[in-house]
Symmetry: C2
Subunit: 343 residues, 2 copies
Amino acid sequence: MIDEAAPKPRRLRNIAELAKLAGVSAGTVSRALAGKGLVRAETRERIQALAREHGFRPNQMASGLRTGQTGVIGIAIPLGHEQGQHISDPFFMSLLGNLADTLVDRGYDIILRKCLPNQDPDWLDRLTVSGMVDGVLLIGQSDQFETIERVAASYLPLVVWGTYRQNQTHCAVGTDSFAGGQLAANHLLSSGKQRIVFLGDTRGLEIERRLAGARAALEAAQAPHWMEHYAVPLSADQMAEAIGSALEVMDPRTDAIFAASDLIAMTAIRLLHERNRSVPGDIAVIGFDDLPVAEQTTPQLTTIKQDVANGARAMASCLMRRMRGETVPSQTMPARLILRGSA
Amino acid sequence: MIDEAAPKPRRLRNIAELAKLAGVSAGTVSRALAGKGLVRAETRERIQALAREHGFRPNQMASGLRTGQTGVIGIAIPLGHEQGQHISDPFFMSLLGNLADTLVDRGYDIILRKCLPNQDPDWLDRLTVSGMVDGVLLIGQSDQFETIERVAASYLPLVVWGTYRQNQTHCAVGTDSFAGGQLAANHLLSSGKQRIVFLGDTRGLEIERRLAGARAALEAAQAPHWMEHYAVPLSADQMAEAIGSALEVMDPRTDAIFAASDLIAMTAIRLLHERNRSVPGDIAVIGFDDLPVAEQTTPQLTTIKQDVANGARAMASCLMRRMRGETVPSQTMPARLILRGSA
DNA sequence: ATGAAAGCGCTAACAA
DNA sequence: TTGTTAGCGCTTTCAT
């Protein structure tokens, strides 16, 4: 049998080949595929049908190069002081998932990058000037405030999840950590707790604000009370150990723990159980984040909720506007107390 | 003051501008920046210093277009039958984190994409022929086995996390789900449990194999026993409801639950507690995945461990070899029983 | 409505 | 060792 009938659907390599097949010029194909109205409807549909049939899609690299737009947003997770090599923080993961959703809805692709500022001081520039992205989202400030400020001074389409400081250059979207800390401490105080231990690594700006908020609440309250503070790493394996030793070292009269994250809170609850200390009877535990798993613990976790869904949308919308050249101010999302069983 | 002293560090837009600044040609700059040995050491270092000083980096789009290599790997999460719009499954997230680590180590960037096959049958081709990626990793097969097979037939650099079926074309790396199911069921049987309920959506290939393995184990055992099966969605909000109603409907003599994931297991344990059924006394619960949180529940979760770290490394290494043109076979990672308190 | 041609920024073959 | 040049695949004036 002669292969005259076979349409020979060899993979089309570029617009020119499709153009030859359609008997038109490359320019026309480009216009047709872009769906612009500058092509006769009949021609456009014929070309689109042909493209579909051959599974052809214009090369995004070439089009990006030509137009100066890539259709890609870079999302970077800076791991400065954090010990672990892994992107493990479930809150960050949840934020990432929400960002992915909202960016996809807006037609953007995502380049995901884990950055290690200690090994590469240029981590942020590397992304912004790579030519691969139209804008950059940072999940967390880590301990890189200065670097972010420097880059933001000359690179507009950059939005960061984290804390806003007076007069900072870069656009930050984040939960009101200070208010969240106040909320947590006030709740503990109003349950009659007075001796609070804070568990978290305050080298992270947000964590530091949570502690500051709690301290402020204690000072505002007219009662005998105090607060201790122990640093706890974010990486899963070292966390339990650090919390365990904090539990050993801390004042035995401690009657409440304010954990900088739900993960820390959950681990603390487990370790307290192992030591036969009841929660919240002996020691109340309050977390931060309100991860989905906060409902799954026993007792269920009382915590300060960060609204990731709205946070992600806010970040995306700020970024879009900055990509258009607008200078958008930072934005703070409210923190909310979620009352469950642990405090 | 005249600005003669100011080095006027205007942003360099391309290699040509840097070349002019260095008094060499664009070609030389390109070679110098690539670190190749075809440039006099002194010249190379001078150029590199200049680039560093001005924060210049070659445009990756242009270089990608020219070389046909992008240095980017696409990671796609297909959500076919899954209801939720969100990339929420913590096991997938954990795999993603590990993949990110190992790919970064190999010098690759990652394009992350959430795919909705029901809304876009071309979801996979869109990524493979975009020209944006050197290879593609799929996190899960969802219900897209046929589509993956079709694409894999003509696109070599594709590796999928999931199940291997006899004679399949595409390269799959995954835990031995069948063996994992056997392991789980045999453990329950050996603890004297006989009436097992399986909780999970068997439209996912891996889930289906876990159930099949458990069934096989039951049949192999010479004992009176049976197994029921209830579908449970992956999305967090609907999961609890589905499990709750399963708990209502199921045979009251049920003495064990085999959950298709740790998340399902944790939710089941919580709901059982709420109904005053003790775990594992009244009902044993065994999970699947061994997420970090499996240690945090009360009681701690007995589960079947999937080795994500090695799984991610295996996927990456298979992909690299396929990108070099080798045809690499599928790979199955062993499942392991992790004994804790819940079963 | 369509074609021709220039050029986005880079790399690599070829020349010198 | 370095410079020159062609061209990766696309979009977009400018002509027609």
